[in-house]
């Protein structure tokens, strides 16, 4: 479980995150949603330590992230997995070497065991045959899956995903969403996903945090999204005609 308590972050006098507090629970896919520029990327970067908030606390299962020393921070980092927007696979390594990288750096298992674990992770994301290929030789969806395999290689407690569906077609997006959700439940991880993909919200949103102009505007589950009266949330989620029609149908079903 990750607890975020009153975090505030400013850049050159402009406050991007204003006093945000929330809880991301174990075994759930926690989604941070909001318009571009709303502060969700800054929020996830503060949570994973790529940025430091001006004030507030971040607790990883009770451990104060911002008060950790170098050694404690290093230990915690080994419990984290991250899926970047552009996958961030290492160009100079094959897919298998990418998945083996965290194991090679931190695992004390034998070389054969490390390889076996990497192959298992690749198999888990249906990439068993792509191990010998380089990132430049595979598709965007395969790159995302390879990045997920790398992120789960060390059995992390916490998984972070920055816009996992960006640049993917709807069907592949759905596959990636399902994969992340299944892995979260399977390993009982605390997963935090930064997205503005509405299909993801309706598909895997166990816990949704809606951010507007740096402020937490709304929090709830995917079923609560449909019935929410929050105008800003409705304007954002149901911006398209198709989404509005979907909401109307869902609301009618609930009434009957």
């Amino acid at each position: 479980m990750i607890e975020v308590k009153n975090i505030t972050k400013s850049f050159e006098g402009r406050t991007v995150l204003k006093n945000i507090s929330t809880v991301f629970e174990n075994g759930k896919t926690n989604l941070i949603i909001g318009r571009s520029g709303s502060g969700k990327t800054v929020m996830i970067k503060n949570i994973i330590g790529l940025m430091r908030p001006d004030s507030g606390e971040i607790l990883y299962d009770g451990r104060n992230f911002l008060a950790m020393n170098k050694h404690e921070l290093k230990q915690l980092r080994r419990e984290m997995g991250m899926l970047f927007q552009g996958s961030a696979l290492f160009d100079s390594m094959t897919v298998l070497e990418n998945v083996m990288f965290p194991l090679d750096m931190f695992s004390n298992a034998s070389s054969a065991e490390r390889r076996k674990r990497a192959e298992f992770c690749l198999d888990r994301v249906n990439l068993a045959d792509a191990g010998d290929l380089f990132p430049s030789e595979i598709s965007g969806g395969m790159m995302k899956r390879a990045a997920i395999a790398r992120a789960i290689a060390l059995n992390p407690q916490y998984l972070f995903c920055d816009e996992p569906n960006s640049g993917l077609d709807p069907k592949t997006s759905l596959l990636i969403d399902d994969l992340i959700h299944d892995i979260t439940v399977e390993y009982n991880m605390t997963t935090v996903i930064n997205t503005h993909d509405m299909n993801s919200v309706m598909n895997i949103g166990d816990n949704i945090i809606f951010i507007k102009e740096g402020v937490k505007e709304w929090q709830g589950t995917k079923s609560e999204v449909i019935t929410s009266n929050n105008q800003a949330l409705n304007d954002f989620i149901f911006a398209s005609d198709l989404a509005r029609k979907f909401k109307e149908v869902e609301e009618m079903e609930i009434k009957h």
Binding site: K74, L76, R77, M82, F84, A88, D91, S92, F101, M105
Partner: protein, 241 residues
Amino acid sequence: MGEYVLLMKKSITFPDRWSMFFKQLIKEIYKLGVDSLWIVIIISAFIGTVIAIQISLNISSPLIPKFTIGYTTREIILLEFSSSIMCLILAGKVGSNIASEIGTMRVTEQIDAMEIMGVNSANFLILPKIIGMMVFIPVLVIFSMFVGILGGIAASYSTSTGMTPASFEFGLQFYFTQFYVWYSIIKSVVYAFIISSIASYFGYNVKGGALEVGKASTNAVVMSSVMILLADVILTHLMLT
């Protein structure tokens, strides 16, 4: 300057995993060093030949003995060409390679990915490049000396230059000072550090996209070249005067 020192402090520490460090080191030696061998050989052979021809054409005086051509060619190659000029050329080839590689890793979040995993990215990426360059550039310099002098010997076989192979070889051995070879090697080790560390600094601190990676690459080459020339003056003063 402060950022550069902090980056070097972060880079020059004991690696998290020695096995991974040595794997990277071998890769870097091959990529930055062995792959530069052909350009060193080609440039050294031609420049060695040209130096010998130029000297023979410009000191065609009956008062100056012919072996002076071999002697002067040797001194130029040993003292300046194979170390300083060759490293200026390598600053262009290797420096831009390092800056663009690390810069691209920065803008595509590959460095962030390492940091999230708890890997000291500066140490993992930069230290093998620095050590690899410091180990292999002296080898390239020795190759350059050897091939450059062979180029001069080849020129001595040309009848139009007025020198003979025998006089050229006598000049090569005349008043040979072994320390000059060491002087050149020591300079090259310092230049290797300058090229790899400055290029890494510019690459590691890229912010933005492809345009900034290009700028970082250019800045790395310019700054490394200037620092090599400055180091040349300082080292020459310290070691030869």
